[in-house]
């Protein structure tokens, strides 16, 4: 098993590094992917699940998960949904534009926790972006794992992201992809329904399965419950959460979640460790 490259740390963690957008890909309505290269040419090493603070100069800075392949550190990939002033401005940038990158930050997905087990990925719509580096890494080290199942749900047939990847993964004999949409026009021949149904359909050995979940905070609980019905207990379910972040290094205080700073102690958590606080309203 060859090791992933280790992330490096810079002198002043609040100063961004300039990166050039080399390609803009329109994914679905309001979602776009950037391929980026460091202006100084240095590779960008990260672990699946980590994120960057991304600056559009003159507009602002936001946290964005990394959605590229950690085995290809020469290309940094970010997939962004335009939902606020910064991301909407970012949607207007074209190839050649310079943006600032600070990172990588955060606790990565614990891929080693799944070695020898079946692996199930549960996600929906843009949640596939933070999971994509992990899926690529698991498939890269495919022989280390049992069955690999990807349960991916979207609202409609036009909200399916990374379709090329989904086709490629589905084409593999060693990977199951359960793609489901909530609603579809008549004549659609794929699966229609919630992600829960896809989890129920997954061919996994529940008690010997590790789950990686990336959904909205409200729907994470539903995924955990459904996984529980399949015998995947919360101590083998890894989830990501989301909070406001301004620094990425645990110093600005915004992302606190009880005793943890989501930017450095998260955003990936084992569900049983956070279940109590997750259940407290507005905490």
């Amino acid at each position: 098993m060859d090791a992933m490259p280790a992330p490096v740390r810079h002198a002043d963690p609040m100063v961004p590094r300039p990166f050039r957008i080399t390609r803009v890909i329109r994914e679905i309505d309001g979602v776009f992917t950037w391929r980026l290269a460091a202006v100084d040419g240095a590779p960008f090493d990260f672990r699946p699940g980590q994120f960057n603070m991304v600056t559009q100069f003159g507009v602002g800075e936001i946290p964005v998960s990394i959605s590229g392949d950690c085995r290809r550190p020469e290309t940094l990939v970010h997939t962004i949904r335009a939902v606020g002033p910064v991301t909407e401005a970012m949607q207007g940038l074209r190839a050649g534009a310079i943006v600032g990158i600070r990172g990588p930050f955060g606790r990565p997905w614990p891929i080693d926790a799944a070695i020898g087990s079946d692996v199930i990925f549960v996600t929906s719509t843009i949640g596939l972006a933070p999971l994509r580096p992990l899926i690529l890494e698991v498939l890269h080290r495919r022989q280390d794992f049992g069955k690999v199942v990807i349960c991916y749900g979207t609202r409609g047939i036009h909200d399916i992201m990374f379709e090329e990847d989904l086709h490629a993964w589905r084409a593999r004999f060693d990977t199951n992809v359960h793609l489901t949409v909530h609603s579809a026009p008549s004549g659609y021949r794929g699966r229609v329904g919630g992600v829960a149904a896809a989890i129920h359909a997954a061919r996994i050995d529940g008690p010997a399965t590790v789950a990686f979940v990336c959904r909205s905070e409200a729907l994470t609980r539903q995924a955990v419950n459904t996984l529980g019905e399949r015998g995947v207990t919360p101590d083998r379910v890894w989830v990501t959460l989301e909070r406001n972040m301004k620094c990425g290094i645990g110093l600005c205080g915004h992302c606190q979640f009880g005793p943890s700073f989501m930017c450095k102690d998260g955003p990936v958590y084992r569900f049983d460790e956070i279940e109590a606080l997750y259940s407290v309203r507005e905490f």
Partner: protein, 419 residues
């Protein structure tokens, strides 16, 4: 401005070297007190009031920017001081929940007051700071940072609770996985003259938080004001060296007893307490749905005063501003968890209700802080009580939850501290 980022390799390399030399200097500084402990004066000394002027002059002569308490705008404000006359001679303060007044004393005590709205964090972790400036350049963008101020600072009149606050912020900014280079640069070489409190303020509760009123560690020199001078203890070798240059004589046994009695009387004067602070993490995190949070939210204005006067609150926000040349400045400023926007993520705030925001502040300060940094975030300075416009009292809020905690079975277990 130092150029970093898009620059060719040379300037960053220079910056690295500079960083390393600073770090070494800081390490030596930290190691000094232990290494030279044997050279410390065996007994405390007595400094006259003229001696205090000499202390100020010596600090200035050594190149320090000397900061100490002054009277400004009807409050004790930390600012530049040159001579003893700049200090609040003959002033005291009367404090209670939501109330602060300066009053004349009937003597000429120099440190006969307690803490005001300012905390030393203002100088180590400034309220407003430019993090960097980005300008359009040949290679797209050039990013530069401001040089750190070269002049070291000396704090005069640091109370025991404030020494504790500085120690707490050291843990936040210097001893985590990431170091704040701005705090580190300001902290480096800092000379601290502590003062043991001769009286308790109306909202003080440092004794119950084990943070005072006597300065135990973290100072170069510590003063106790007596009727005819100051009892001085050296806490570090460089403190002892400075004391040697000042006109002083050994303190008598009687003067040492007087000083001890003053500190003991101060501790006994305190009207507020948070007993058994070590039990607070389990108590508060086990009562996150206690009805008291609703009660306090009825009074809390979410103004954030408590977070601005708190000597340990460290939260910040960043703002980007542009000018007509196309340059961007990123500025860091103090933020408050009482602001709705503080927890904003797409779709809305995580803590829209004042109840959730007060709960976040208090559980962080007294409970989560312990898991994060191995210490409570509260020093018992009482500022949050004094400067709350409606007089919400953290000691009273703790007591109310303690008096009627949720049944143990219903309480969610306090989560494990992060790795």
């Amino acid at each position: 401005m130092q150029h970093v980022g898009a620059e060719p390799p040379d300037p960053p390399a220079l910056r690295h070297t500079a960083d390393r030399s600073r770090r070494i200097a800081l390490d030596q500084c930290a190691a000094a007190p232990n290494a030279d402990a044997s050279r410390m004066p065996p007994a405390p000394a007595l400094l006259t009031r003229d001696g205090l002027d000499a202390l100020l002059a010596a600090l200035h002569a050594d190149g320090f920017r000397v900061l100490g308490p002054t009277v400004q705008d009807g409050a004790i404000i930390y600012d530049d001081v040159v001579r003893v006359a700049d200090l609040p001679v003959g002033w005291t303060d009367r404090q209670d929940g939501g109330s602060y007044r300066l009053e004349r004393r009937d003597d000429t005590a120099v440190f006969g007051h307690t803490v005001g709205p300012y905390a030393w964090k203002r100088f180590l972790h400034p309220p407003l700071l430019r993090l960097w400036r980005a300008e359009p350049g040949a290679d797209g963008v050039e990013i530069a940072t401001d040089a750190h101020a070269a002049q070291p600072m000396a704090f005069l009149g640091v109370r025991a609770c404030e020494l504790q606050a500085i120690a707490i912020q050291d843990k936040v900014f210097l001893h985590g996985p990431f170091v704040d280079p701005h705090y580190k640069a300001r902290r480096q070489g800092l000379f601290i003259v502590a003062v043991n409190c001769g009286q308790a303020g109306g909202t003080c509760f440092c004794a119950s938080m084990q943070a005072g009123p006597k300065a135990e560690a973290g100072f170069d020199l510590a003063l106790t004001e007596l009727a005819d001078g100051f009892l001085v203890e050296a806490g570090t070798a460089r403190g002892a060296v400075l004391l040697d240059r000042l006109p002083h004589r050994p303190a008598s046994e009687e003067e040492q007893q007087q000083a001890a009695a003053i500190v003991a009387a101060t501790a006994a004067q305190m009207g507020r307490h948070i007993p058994d602070a070590a039990a607070l993490p389990a108590l508060l995190l086990g009562n996150l749905d206690h009805p008291r949070w609703d009660a306090v939210a009825q009074r809390c204005l979410s103004c954030g005063n408590c977070t601005q006067v708190c000597p340990t609150c460290f939260c910040t926000n960043v703002t980007d501003t542009t000018d007509l040349t196309g340059a961007t400045d990123r500025t860091r400023r103090w933020d408050s968890c009482f602001a709705v926007d503080f927890s904003y993520i797409h779709g809305g705030a995580v803590r829209p209700a004042p109840r959730s925001r007060y709960r976040q502040w208090m559980t962080h300060k007294l409970a989560s802080w312990v898991a994060q940094f191995g210490t409570s975030g509260c020093t018992g300075c009482g500022r949050c009580v004094t400067w709350c416009p409606v007089g919400i009292d953290i000691t009273e809020e703790v007591a109310a939850i303690r008096a009627a905690p949720a049944p143990a079975a219903a309480a969610p277990a306090a989560p494990q501290s992060p790795p």
